[in-house]
Every structure is written in C-alpha cells, then in structure tokens.
C-alpha cells in the first residue's frame, strides 16, 4: 500500500536562482527568469502525481531588502507569469492562492492580477497551489495571535486547533514534504506553523535546473521515509500515514 502514498501537501523553497546565474556569469535576474520553467514543470509534475496541495515560496518578507532593481524585476516577472499561465492553470482545475501579499510596495497592477487569478480559480478543486509571496511564517503567527486577542478568545480555549483557525487560509493542511533546492538546509521563516511535522529533502540541484524528474525523486524519498517512520508519526496531519 505504501508504494502508492503520495504526500498530500508538498512545499518547495525555490533556492539557487542567484547561484545558477553566477555560475553562468549572468545577472541574478537571469536566474529568476530561468526559474519560471522549473515552476511550471513542478506544478505539472505535482498535478500528475496526485498531490492535492502544492505551496511555493516565491518571495519572503525579507526579500524586500534586495536591491530595488531586482525587486522590481521580480514583481514584473511574477505578473508576467500570472498572465501567461492563468488560463492553463484554470484549465487544469488548479485553485491558485497567495499567502502574504500585504505590503503596500506590491505594485497595484500586480495586486489586481493576483486578485483576478484567485477569483478565476477559486472554485477549482483538483489541486490547490499556494504561492507564498511577501510571506513570513512568524508574521502569520503574530497575526493569528492578534486575531485571537481581537476576538477576545479566553486563554484556556486557545489550543493548536483554535490557533490554526486564525492563520491565513485556515483550511490549508499541514505540510507533509518540503523540498529545498540548492543544498541549503534552513527553514527561512517559511510556513512555520505548517511545517512542524514535515519531512524535508534537500536536493543539490539549483532551482532553475529542477525538473519533473527531480520532483518525482523527492516523492520517492518521501515514500521511503514513510516506510521507515510512518507508524511513529503523530497522526495529526492528513491520515495518509497508515
């Protein structure tokens, strides 16, 4: 049975664009541009493998510290990618969501395209793609705490479950597998609440070179780990660990 286990929720920390470009003596922006193909490949592979939830870490709250020209480039790139792929994402039954997206520095046209993409795909259920954009895991936790205080929830009623209901997109299940490319082994403030019980894999390949084959290898790795640890995992996640 375990052979068929597919993680319900896979998250990717898309790392290595800058190094990919540096290795080729190209500007960092070239790395970001090359990343688009990997994103599309991974979405397709996840979709085909039957992953129900895919989350991609596109831009952190800390990324605003990058040079303004690079930030502006990234904003344009994301906007272009949204407009280019909106229809095919919708056609595949993928619901698109964005996690974060609160900073006023996000250009209004991009914010509108993001809202349009979410509106267009909101009723799709085949797979949910969450793009963490202007995201910070700690910030989400702080916001959830604020929300609890505002709702005047008594201290004794605050449990992990009630807390989770105050996080953005509260229906998001816990992450089963995180893939961080380029060999870096850090969490980098990514979906902190949701990755508590996640399995992590750290393929050495840089994100612009990451393809469907790499993604499937990661799923295989996850499966093998499930064989070894499945029965001792805390069964709070998705019920797929039997």
């Amino acid at each position: 049975m375990n052979e068929r286990i597919v993680p319900r929720h896979v998250a990717c920390v898309m790392d290595g664009n800058g190094r990919w470009a540096a290795l080729r003596s190209l500007p960092r922006t070239a790395g970001h541009r090359a990343a688009e193909a990997a994103v599309i490949d991974v979405i397709e592979a996840a979709h085909a493998a039957g992953v129900e939830w895919l989350s991609l870490y596109a831009f952190s709250t800390e990324n605003w510290r990058r040079p303004p020209a690079e930030v502006a480039f990234l904003m344009r790139l994301v906007r272009r990618a949204i407009r280019k792929h909106a229809l095919s994402l919708h056609a595949r039954g993928i619901r698109c969501r964005f996690l974060g997206v609160t900073d006023p520095r996000i250009p209004p046209p991009l914010a509108r395209d993001i809202a349009d993409l979410m509106m267009l795909t909101r009723d799709n259920r085949r797979m949910t793609l969450t793009v963490a954009f202007d995201h910070g895991g700690r910030r989400d936790i702080v916001e959830a705490a604020r929300s609890l205080v505002r709702d005047r929830v008594p201290a004794e009623e605050i449990t992990e479950e009630t807390f989770a209901r105050h996080l953005p997109h509260p229906d998001t299940p816990e992450v089963d597998l995180v893939i961080r490319t380029s060999g870096e082994q850090r969490i980098s403030n990514f979906m902190l609440w949701h990755v508590a019980y996640a399995e992590w894999v750290f393929p050495l390949v840089l994100w612009p070179d990451f393809r469907a084959g790499h993604f499937r290898e990661c799923l295989d790795l996850y499966r093998r780990r499930e064989r070894r640890f499945g029965d001792v995992r805390v069964p709070t996640t998705t019920g797929d660990a039997s």
């Binding site: 904003m75 344009r76 906007r79 272009r80 949204i82 407009r83 909106a86 229809l87 919708h90 969501r97 964005f98 997206v101 609160t102 006023p104 250009p107 209004p108 046209p109 991009l110 914010a111 509108r112 395209d113 809202a115 349009d116 993409l117 979410m118 509106m119 267009l120 909101r122 009723d123 916001e143 929300s147 505002r150 105050h166 953005p168 997109h169």
Partner: protein
Amino acid sequence: MTSETTTAPASLDTADLYGPDSMLRRLCHEARWGLAVARATVLEAAHPQIGAALIANSTFVAHPWRRLRNTVLSAQRLVDPDERVRRREAARLNRLHARMAGTDAEGRPYTALDPGARAWVVATLFESTVTMYRLGGRSLDGASLDRLYAEFRAFLAQMEGGEGELPPTLREFWRYYDLMVEERLENTEAAALILHRLFAEVPAPPVLRDRPAVWAAGRALAAPLATAVTVGSLPAPLRERLGLAEIPGARTLTHAAYLSTGLASRLLPDAWTRLETVMAMFDPTFTPRPGTDPFAGLRRGTAKAGALLRLLTPDRETAAEAPPSAMRFFAEVLDQTGNGSLDWPDLAAMAREIATRLDLDERGEDRLFTAFADWWRELQAALDTDHDGRISGHEYAAAAATMTSPALVRVAEVLFDATDTDDDQAIDAEEHRTLFRVAFEHDPGDTGTPDRLTRAAFVREFLNFMAGRHHSEGYDRLFAQA
C-alpha cells in the same frame, strides 16, 4: 417562464401599489429596457430645466455607467413590493433633487424639484417604453397601455406626494406629449452632449477600465450604431430641432435593434436577459441589493469571466506600474465631472454617491453633505488662489498633501458611523467587509483577514487617501468608477 420572483408577502399585499403582476416592476429587470432609458434620457435632456440641471449637477458624461446603475437601482426600489422601501427611496430622491437648483447659462432658474420637469421625466420613460414595445414588434394593446400608464402615474405620484402633473387619461397624455415635443423642448447643451459626445466618448465599463485600447476598439464600432439607433427612434420634430439629419438606414437599424432585443427577451432564458445579468457582466462587483442577491452563482460566473478577460488582455507593464501620482488622483477621483477642475458639483457628486451606496438615512445624509460643503469652503479658502471658484489639478496637488482638514475628518466620521453598526467604536471584520462590499464594491474575500480599525485609524486612512498620499483599492473603486 418565471421572470416574476418578487411577489410581496401576503401581509403586504394591500401595500403593494403596483400589484403582484406589475408591468413596470418586470420592466425594471429587463435588459432591453436600457435602450428605452437611454432614449428617454435624450428626451429629458432636451427639456430646458432638466437639461440645465443635468449640465450643472450630473456626472453622467464622466460616469455614465455609474449613473445607469444608480438609475436602475433607484427605479427598482421605487417599484418594490414593500411600501417602506418605496417610501424611503422616494424621500431619498426628493432630498437629492432638492439639492439641485440654480440658474442656467441664460440666467433662467431651474430646480430638480419642479413638478412639470419631473412629470416630463416620467412621461419620457413611459413613451420610450411604449416605443420599445412597438419597435420590438409587439405593440401593447389598449388595456396594457392603460395599465402601464396608470403604473407610471403612480410612480410619479409616489415622488410628488400628490397626483403629479401627468394628465389623468392616456388620450390627454398623447396631446400633452405632442405639445411638449412641439413647443417646449429645445436644442439644449445637455441633449447635444449626449448625442454627440457621450456615445462616442463613453468611458470603459468597470470590467474594462484598465484596458482602454480594447474598449476604444469596441466603442469605435458600437458608438455610431448606438447614436443611429437612438436618433432613429426620436420624434421627427425633435430630430429637426436638434439639427439631426435623417441618417440613411437609421430607421431599419433602429427597428432591427429593438426587434432583436424584443426577440431575445422572448426566446432566451429569463436569467440571460435580465438587467442585473447584463450589468453584472459589465461590472463584476455590481450588487443589485445588498443581502438579497438571487444571482450569486451567475455573478460569480461573470466575476470570473471578468477576471479572465483582464488577465488575457495585453497590458502595458511600465506605465501601469507607476504609482498613482497626485495628478492622476485628481483626474480619476476628485474631478467627478471630468471638466479638468475641482468645483462644488464634483464634491456634491461624491457625497451623493456615498449617500446612495451606503443608503444613509436623512440625518446621516445631511451630516455628509454639510461636511462636504464645509470641506469645499476650506478648499476654496486655502487653494483657490485666483478666486475663480474652481481649483485646478496643479493647485490641489501643490497644497493638498500638507493640508489638515477638520471638515474631511467629519466626512470620515459619517462613513465610520454608517459602518459601525454595533456602535463599539471600531470596525470589526464583518463591518469592514460590509463597508467594502456595499460602499466600495470590493470584497476583501480570500485575500486575508481584514484589519480591525478604530475610529482614529479609519479617519487617518481616509485622510491619507483623500490627500492622494496613498493608494486604496476600496476608495478608488468608489470614486473612480466610470
């Protein structure tokens, strides 16, 4: 065929002025009635008093879609089965019209409360509806005509509080109508503006607001057709007075347009030809009546279609990503009449729009108008350096960002009070959502938990927006929508 879904509950039957099978109520929900309303607007505008009021007070050239929506919503409320809804709307319209008075370019006084002028507005709607049926290939029989006329008279009487100035019988009505067309109507500035400019320059509906090129291409094709169809259906004496030559083929075109809309409303499913459906297509955030939306599924569908259309339409990247400058803010938000400067009609239009959207009661409306009037005096004192009664974009941009305005604080407070329904001195998630959905036509929806705003925080946000200091999607939609 189930077009009538709004029958009154039994207890209110006696209060239903129009009866459960009201023709007028059905019309208010039919998309093709838009043709009749557009035609009636030209006839209205040719009336000297109405023409003057339109030119001085209305923002219909700069914001025709908003005016169309407000007209439709108002008409729907005026024929609502619930007497309280009708009364409230009539009172609101009367208050609104009471604020529209002055003198025209030739020094003649006008007021939007003039009973003769108001009778003419209803007369043009009635006659245009009859024309719509006739050109649509199904003339009304005698009994239906009588019935429809009686309903229109009741419509007017409701606003006037008395009988209104429409003749008591249909036979007398036609004499009155012919006389008005022959002797009273003029080649007014407003009529010319509608015929020669409005159709050709009508701004994009909200769904295409950010795609001017797409809209311009469609409009170049549709505008001459719309003009020809409207002109072709006008009474001949008026056409001559307006200096409009007979356009070859216009009669056929007019006939064809009305006939096809008539056929469409008979053959297509009811939901497709309802006015709400068509308006929702143009304006994804259009809400017929807050809380009672029988078209939720359909609206969701059209909202999605709008989103897809925007995503698929090419867009200039660099220009679109520039933050809104003070001048852009001035042109899109403040200059409601689109005449290039800020004056009282601009601010009055803003106050009207807010009062309508939030459905303020009389006290709230008065507070809002007083606050806006005070703001206008403040602006004039501080910014109108050449004392010409207007403020240019440059005058505003140069000084507004540093201005502190007690009157504008009061405007914000009215908005806040209208929103803070549970009176806890803060706008919570639900109230915030309602404010945005109803007033600003923006559903915060899935994009995150809305902030809880205290009175002070709300006032601060509003002041920042009005000074052009920061961009706010909600307010932009309220004021800038065409």
